[in-house]
Amino acid sequence: MKKLVEIKNIVKHFPVQKGLFKRTVGLVKAVDDVSFEIYEGETLGLVGESGCGKSTLGKLLVRLINPTLGNVIFDNKNLDSFSNKKLREQRQFFQMIFQDPNSSLDPRSTVGKSIEEGLIIHGIKNKQERQKRIKEMLNLVGISANATERFPHEFSGGQRQRIGIARALILKPKLVVCDEPVSALDVSVQAQVLNLLNELKNELSLTLLFISHNLSVVENISDRIAIMYLGQIIELLDSSKFAVNCKHPYSKALLSAIPMPDPNTRKERIILKGDVPSPINPPKGCRFHTRCPEAMSKCEKIEPLFLELSHDHKASCHLLSN
C-alpha cells in the first residue's frame, strides 16, 4: 500500500511561562518523538487518555501548529520546506473535523457561507459552480439543501457535526483528521455520524486519522489502532487483532477498564494505580512504569524502543523486546 503520510520523529514542546517577563520555566512535552505512517485509504485510530498529546498530534498533521522537531511528509512532499503560500495551496488536501460542532462553526455566518469559504479561498471563482458543489455535499451528508440559508444554532448537535463534515470534505481532501468527532454526541446520534463517516470514506476514497478517547468507537471504525501514552505511541496494531492480541500492559489495562454492556460477565479489571504523570516531567525510563502492574527495575532506567513484534504490530515495552 502507498504511504500517504509519513511522520518522522516528530516532537512538539510547549513552553511553560511564568512571571512578569514570561520566563520559560519548563516544557510540556506534548508529543515526544513519534514516528508512524498512514497508508492511502485506511482509517488509523489514535487512542489515549486526556492530555496524552493525541489532539496535538492531529494538529501537527494538518499544520495548525508547527512541530518543534521532526518532519511530516504528506504525499511525498516535505511540508517543512514549504513557504506559507505554498502550504496554503496544500491545505485543501488535508482537512480537519473538530469535536464540538457548536464552537467550530461560526454562529454568525450561514451554513452555506461557512462551507463556501474554503471554495473561495482555493479559487473556485464561479458562483454557480460553488453553489452546486455545496448542495451536492450537503446532500451527501444527509442535510437538506435549504440549510444553506440557515444558521448553525437552528440545527441539532448531530446535524451540526454533519455540517462540519461537509465543510471539511467540500475541497475533496485526501486526508481528514477527525478529532473526537462523536464525543459530544448522544449514543444514538453517534452511530449515525460514525456510519456516515464510513460511507463517505468509501465513496470519496478518503484516508482518515480518527482521534478519540473511546476505544470501542475507535476499534469499530479503524483499520489500525495506535495507542498513545504521555506523548508517545506505545502500541500500533491491526484493529481486528486489538481485543485479542494487544501486548503492551497499558493497552491491556485500557481494554480491561472499558465497562462492557453485558451484565452476565462482570470481569475482573486491571486497575491502574494513580493518575497519568505530568507531561512536564515525564518519568524516566519507560513512561508507563509508575503505573505499570508488571514493571521491572530495568523499566525505571532504560526507555524501551518501539519495536516491530510481528508484521504490522509494534509496541514499546521491555517485556516484549526479549
Partner: protein, 334 residues
C-alpha cells in the same frame, strides 16, 4: 427478588419547567423504589429527564423548575413536601449526592481537609479536632495517597479522579442511606473511571448504601446496576432487573440503543443507528414518544402508536415496557 428494605419510594413524580413559551414537562410520571445495598441505574440520552428526577428528589431544582405532582417517600416522610430546613438536615447526612464535574462541585477557596471535616461538624456535632481526625480517616478509606498533605491542598491542585474521590469521601462521610450519583465518571478517563466505579462498589459493600446511579453509558449500567430504568423524553420506557433488561430487552428504544453502541471485541458488528432525533420537549407527539424513530411500529399495530401514549405494561419478573406491542400483558401498573 431480594427482600432488602425499601429506602426510597418514588411515586408518579412529575417535574415541569417554566419557559418563555409555556410549561415543559421534563419528568413525566416516573415511579421506582430503591432498596438497601442495591444500585438502581437510570439510563438515557441527554435531555431525557434523568438528572432532573434526581434533582427533584433532592429539592435542588433550579428556580424555573417545580414538582407538579408525585411523592418521594424516605423513612415515612415525603421528601417533596419537606421544608428547606428539614431537607438541609437530611442532605449530606442521610441522603447525599455526587455530581458529574468534581472540579466545580467542590468549594474552590476551601482546603480539602476543611471541606470534608465540615460535614462531621455540621451533621454529627463533632469538635474541630475530632472532625479533622474523621476526615483524615475518610480520605484514607477512599484511597487518596498521602492524605495528611492532601488535607491542606485546594481543589484546583487535585486531578479529576482525586477530586471525585474527595467528593465520594464527603458523600459517604455520614454513612448515608442513599447516595445519588449523577454521571460520576463521565468527565473522567477510562482508567480513572474503573478506579472510581470500583471504589463505589467497595464502599457500598461496607456501608450498605442504596445507590441511585444516573448515566448515559450502557457499559457502566451493566457493571454497576442491580436494577435499571430506561428513560426517553421524560418517561420511563422500560424497567427491570439488569440481566433481564440486557438479555431480553423489550422496548424498541432499549433494543435500538443496545444495537447502536460499538462493543470492543466485536469489530464486525455493524452499528444500527437510530434514525431521526429525540423530539423537543415542547413539541411532543400525542402518541408514543418514540413512534417516529421506531422500527418495529409497522409490524403490528400502528394507529395506537400515533394516537395514544402507551401505559407501562408489566411483563413478568418485575419487568415492564411502555409499548403497545406488549398490550397482551394487560396488567397496567402506572
Amino acid at each position: 427478588m431480594s427482600t432488602h428494605p425499601i429506602q426510597l419510594e418514588v411515586n408518579n413524580l412529575t417535574t415541569c419547567f417554566r419557559t418563555s413559551t409555556g410549561n415543559v414537562t421534563a419528568v413525566d410520571d416516573i415511579s421506582f423504589s430503591l432498596k438497601k445495598g442495591e444500585t438502581l441505574c437510570i439510563v438515557g440520552e441527554s435531555g431525557c429527564g434523568k438528572s432532573v428526577s434526581a434533582l427533584s428528589i433532592m429539592g435542588l431544582l433550579p428556580p424555573a423548575g417545580y414538582v407538579k405532582s408525585g411523592s418521594a417517600n424516605f423513612q415515612n416522610n415525603n421528601l417533596l413536601s419537606m421544608s428547606s430546613n428539614q431537607l438541609e438536615r437530611l442532605r449530606g447526612d442521610r441522603i447525599s449526592m455526587i455530581f458529574q464535574d468534581p472540579g466545580s462541585s467542590l468549594n474552590p477557596v476551601m482546603r480539602i481537609g476543611d471541606q470534608v471535616s465540615e460535614i462531621f461538624r455540621i451533621h454529627l456535632n463533632m469538635s474541630k479536632s475530632q472532625s479533622k481526625e474523621k476526615a483524615l480517616e475518610m480520605l484514607k478509606q477512599v484511597e487518596i495517597p498521602d492524605p495528611e498533605s492532601r488535607m491542606l491542598t485546594y481543589p484546583h491542585e487535585l486531578s479529576g479522579g482525586m477530586a471525585q474521590r474527595v467528593m465520594i469521601a464527603m458523600a459517604l462521610a455520614c454513612k448515608p442511606d442513599i447516595l445519588i450519583a449523577d454521571e460520576p465518571t463521565t468527565a473522567l478517563d477510562v482508567t480513572i473511571q474503573s478506579q472510581i466505579l470500583n471504589l463505589m462498589i467497595q464502599m457500598q459493600s461496607i456501608t450498605k448504601t442504596a445507590i441511585l446511579l444516573i448515566t448515559h453509558d450502557l457499559g457502566v449500567v451493566a457493571e454497576m446496576a442491580d436494577y435499571v430504568l430506561v428513560m426517553y423524553c421524560g418517561q420511563v420506557v422500560e424497567y427491570g432487573n439488569v440481566k433481564t433488561v440486557f438479555n431480553n430487552p423489550v422496548h424498541p428504544y432499549t433494543k435500538a440503543l443496545m444495537k447502536s453502541i460499538p462493543v470492543i471485541g466485536e469489530k464486525s458488528k455493524k452499528l444500527d443507528a437510530i434514525p431521526g432525533r429525540v423530539p423537543s420537549l415542547d413539541l411532543l407527539p400525542s402518541g408514543c414518544r418514540f413512534e417516529k424513530r421506531c422500527t418495529e411500529k409497522n409490524v403490528h399495530i400502528t394507529s395506537d402508536c400515533q394516537k395514544r401514549i402507551p401505559p407501562i405494561f408489566n411483563l413478568n419478573n418485575n419487568h415492564g415496557s411502555r409499548c403497545w406491542l406488549k398490550r397482551e400483558h394487560n396488567e397496567k401498573i402506572s
